[in-house]
Amino acid sequence: MKYLDEYRNPGKVKTLLREIASITTRNWVIMEICGGQTHAFLHHGLDAMLPPQIELVHGPGCPVCVTPLEQIDKAIAIASRPDVIFTSYGDMLRVPGSTKDLFSVRAGGGDVHVVYSPLEAVQTAEGNPDKQVVFFAIGFETTAPANAMAVLQARNKHIKNFSVLVSHVRVPPAMEAILGSKSNRVQGFLAAGHVCAVMGFHEYPPIAEKYHVPIVVTGFEPIDLLNGMVSAVKQLEAGRAEAENQYQRAVKFEGNESAQRTIRSVFESVDRKWRGIGIIPQSGWGLNPDFAEFDAENRFDVGNIFTQESPLCIAGEILQGLKRPLQCAAFGRQCTQQTPLGAPMVSAEGACAAYYKYHRDVVYE
C-alpha cells in the first residue's frame, strides 16, 4: 500500500488545504468529471474540508449512470434468451431497466455472468460453442481498449458465437455539451486521470480556450485531488484557462497511443444517447462496419426497443452539475440504494450513491 499511502499523507493534505484556502478569494464552481473522483472526495471526507467558497459539483463520468435505458432493456431482452450466456461487469447488474434489472433476469433462470475482463467473455464463448455469448461493452475511454481487444481476439480466433452490446461514451464531447449549455454553471474542471492515461489530454487545450475554462487532469487520491484543486483555483483566480496535467505519474500529453490504435481499429465515433442527458453528437463509440458481425444488436432482434424516461427524478440535472444530490427532494426518502429512482443512486460510481453512502446524515440533521 506504500504506493497509495504517500498520496494520503494527512500532513500533506493539511498543507494543500491551507494553500487552497489562502488563494481562494471568490466563489467558484468546479466539476470533477469522474464518478471515481466524486467517491474519493466523499470517501475521505475531503469535500467538507474544502473552503466554503468552492462548490464541488459532480459530472456525468459514471459509465453505469449514463448507459441509456433502452440499452439496458436490450441487455435484459438478450440475457433472457435461453440460448444466451450474457456477461457483464458487475456494476451493471443492479441498474434498473424499464421493468427489471439483470439480477432479476438471473433469478428468473437467465445465464448472466459477472466478468472481471471482457477477455473472460471470449473464453466463455470458446468453452460454450453451443451458446451465444454476449458481452455488455459499456464505459468511457478506460474500458474501450480492453473491449476492443476482446472483439479483435474473437475475430483472430474465428469465434462465431461471441458478440458485444456496445454503449461506449467519450468524455470530451460531454464536457463541451455541459459548457455549451445555456444553464451551465461549471467554471473549472478536474479531468478524469484514468481516461487521460488512455487518451492523453491533447483534446483539452482547445476546449479550455474555446469556453475559457481551466481543465486540470487529476488522479484519485486525496493529494491528487487537492493538487488538481490548487491548480484549478490558481487559474481561476488569475483569469487563466489552460489544460494542465497534475497526474504526471500516469498521464502523458499524447496518452497511450497503442491503446488508442486498438480502439480505433474496432470502433468509430457515433452519436450516443446518455441516460438522463440525451443524445450528444459524436459522444460515443460504435463498432465500425468491419466488425458488424460482432454487434449483438445485429445478431438479436432488439432494434424495436424504445423507452420513455419518466420525469420523476432529477438525475439529468445531477449529471450536468446543475444540482447536487442533497438538493433532490427524493434523496434518501423515495430514492435510496434499495429503491433507486435513477442510475446515479445505483452505480458504485454514481454521485447520489456517494452521498447516500457517506453523507445522508446531512438530510436528517
Binding site: 500500500m1 493534505v13 459509465p63 456494476d91 459477472v114 445555456k182 441516460r275 449529471l319 446543475l322
Partner: protein, 350 residues
C-alpha cells in the same frame, strides 16, 4: 459545437421492489435485513429485539440457554485456510458465543448433490470433527438428504447449536452504552477476500488465508476480564453492517477511526483494486465487542493472550448522542458515514 439544451432531460423510472429472491438477499446486508423484517418476522412471529442478535436466548426452569441455526453454501467447498465443514461448525459456535453462551452441542443437516465424491464428504466430516473438538462442543444429531444433480451445488450444510449462558452475563446488540470502547479481535476482511480469490482465481501474488475459527474461548477470556455489553461476529456484510445493526439496536452513535482499523495489506490492496469497501468484507473468525470504558484495557490485554485475539485493537467508541449512526474519522482528518452493505458486492467497472 452548437449550444446544447439540456432542458427536459431527466432520468429513469423507479425499479419496482423485487418480486423474486435475488442473490443480494443473501448478502447479509440491507436486502437480507429487508427480507427478514418484511417477510419472515411478520409471518413467523412477533419481532423481538433479540431476534436480531446472533442467537436467541430461551429460559428453561430459570436457566438461560442460547439457541441458533445457520446454513452454509460456500463456493468453493475448500478454500485457503478452511472449508465448508470448519465454517459450519465455527459459524454456529460463534453465534452462540456472541450472546455470551458456552456452546454445548450442535446438530448438522447435509444436503448432498447426486455425484458428490465420498472423498469430498469424508474430508468435510473430518474437518467438522476437528473444529468441534477445538471448540469443545459435540455433534449430537444429524440428517442427510440427497437431491438430483443440479438440485444443489455439491454440498450444503445446516448447523444448529445450543449453549448455556452463565448467571450475570447479559450480552446483546441492544446493550451498547455511551462511552463503550469498540474493540475488534484482529484483521478485518481476510475470509471474504480469501474465498473470493479462490473462487474467481484473481491471481493475487499474496496467498491470503481465511480466518475461520471458533471464538468461544476468546469470549470466555473477555468475559472473565471485564464488563462486555455487546458481541458480534461480523460475517456476511462485514464489520460495517454489524456496527450499523448495533447502532440501530442500541440507538447510539458509534465513531470509529480509520487509522486504527487493522487490515492485512493484501486485503486492503485487493479492495482498492476491485473497488470494494473492506468494511463490507466477510469475516469468519473475528468479533467486534463493546466494552465498558474502564474495563477496555483489561479486556484488550486478555484478548491478546488468546489464540484468536492476538491482533485485537481498539477502533472507536460510543458517543453521547442518541442517534443510530456510525461515523468514520478518515485517516486524512475528514468524517463520513459508514453504511450497511446494500446488496451483493459488485466489482467496479474502471
Amino acid at each position: 459545437m452548437n449550444e446544447f439544451d439540456f432542458e427536459g432531460y431527466t432520468c429513469p423510472v423507479p425499479l419496482r421492489p423485487n418480486e423474486t429472491v435475488i442473490l443480494g438477499h443473501g448478502s447479509g446486508g440491507t436486502l437480507s435485513r429487508d427480507l427478514l423484517r418484511r417477510l419472515f418476522l411478520p409471518e413467523l412471529g412477533k419481532a423481538a429485539p433479540r431476534a436480531l442478535d446472533d442467537s436467541a436466548v430461551v429460559e428453561i426452569d430459570g436457566q438461560r440457554f442460547a439457541l441458533t441455526t445457520d446454513s452454509h453454501v460456500v463456493s468453493p467447498l475448500f478454500f485457503p485456510g478452511g472449508d465448508i465443514g470448519r465454517l459450519a461448525i465455527c459459524g454456529t459456535v460463534n453465534d452462540l458465543a456472541m450472546v455470551g453462551a458456552k456452546p454445548i452441542a450442535l446438530t448438522c443437516g447435509f444436503v448432498l448433490e447426486e455425484g458428490l465424491p465420498f472423498e469430498t464428504l469424508q474430508r468435510v466430516a473430518a474437518s467438522m470433527q476437528a473444529a468441534a473438538q477445538e471448540a469443545g462442543v459435540y455433534i449430537a444429531a444429524g440428517d442427510t438428504k440427497v437431491v438430483q444433480k443440479g438440485g444443489a451445488d455439491q454440498l450444503f450444510i445446516n448447523t444448529s447449536g445450543i449453549g448455556k449462558i452463565a448467571d450475570g452475563v447479559n450480552i446483546s446488540g441492544a446493550n451498547a452504552k455511551e462511552g463503550d470502547v469498540v474493540i475488534v479481535s484482529g484483521t478485518i476482511g481476510d475470509h471474504g477476500i480469501a474465498v473470493l480469490s479462490a473462487r474467481e482465481d484473481l491471481g493475487f501474488e499474496t496467498m491470503l488465508e481465511s480466518d475461520v475459527a471458533p471464538l468461544n474461548h476468546l469470549v470466555e477470556a473477555m468475559l472473565a476480564a471485564g464488563e462486555v455489553h455487546v458481541l458480534r461476529d461480523p460475517t456476511r456484510g462485514g464489520l460495517a453492517t454489524s456496527l450499523v445493526e448495533i447502532s440501530e439496536q442500541s440507538n447510539v452513535t458509534i465513531e470509529i477511526e480509520e487509522q486504527t482499523l487493522p487490515f492485512k495489506p493484501a486485503v486492503k490492496a485487493a479492495c482498492e483494486m476491485l473497488g470494494f469497501d473492506p468494511l463490507w468484507i466477510a469475516n469468519e473468525g473475528k468479533l467486534v465487542a463493546f466494552v465498558k470504558e474502564s474495563d477496555a484495557e483489561k479486556v484488550l490485554d486478555a484478548m491478546k493472550k488468546t489464540k484468536y485475539g492476538g491482533g485485537a485493537a481498539m477502533i472507536g467508541k460510543v458517543m453521547g448522542v442518541r442517534k443510530s449512526q456510525v461515523r468514520l474519522k478518515t485517516a486524512i482528518g475528514g468524517t463520513r458515514l459508514v453504511d450497511m452493505l446494500p446488496g451483493e458486492m459488485l466489482p467496479r467497472i474502471c
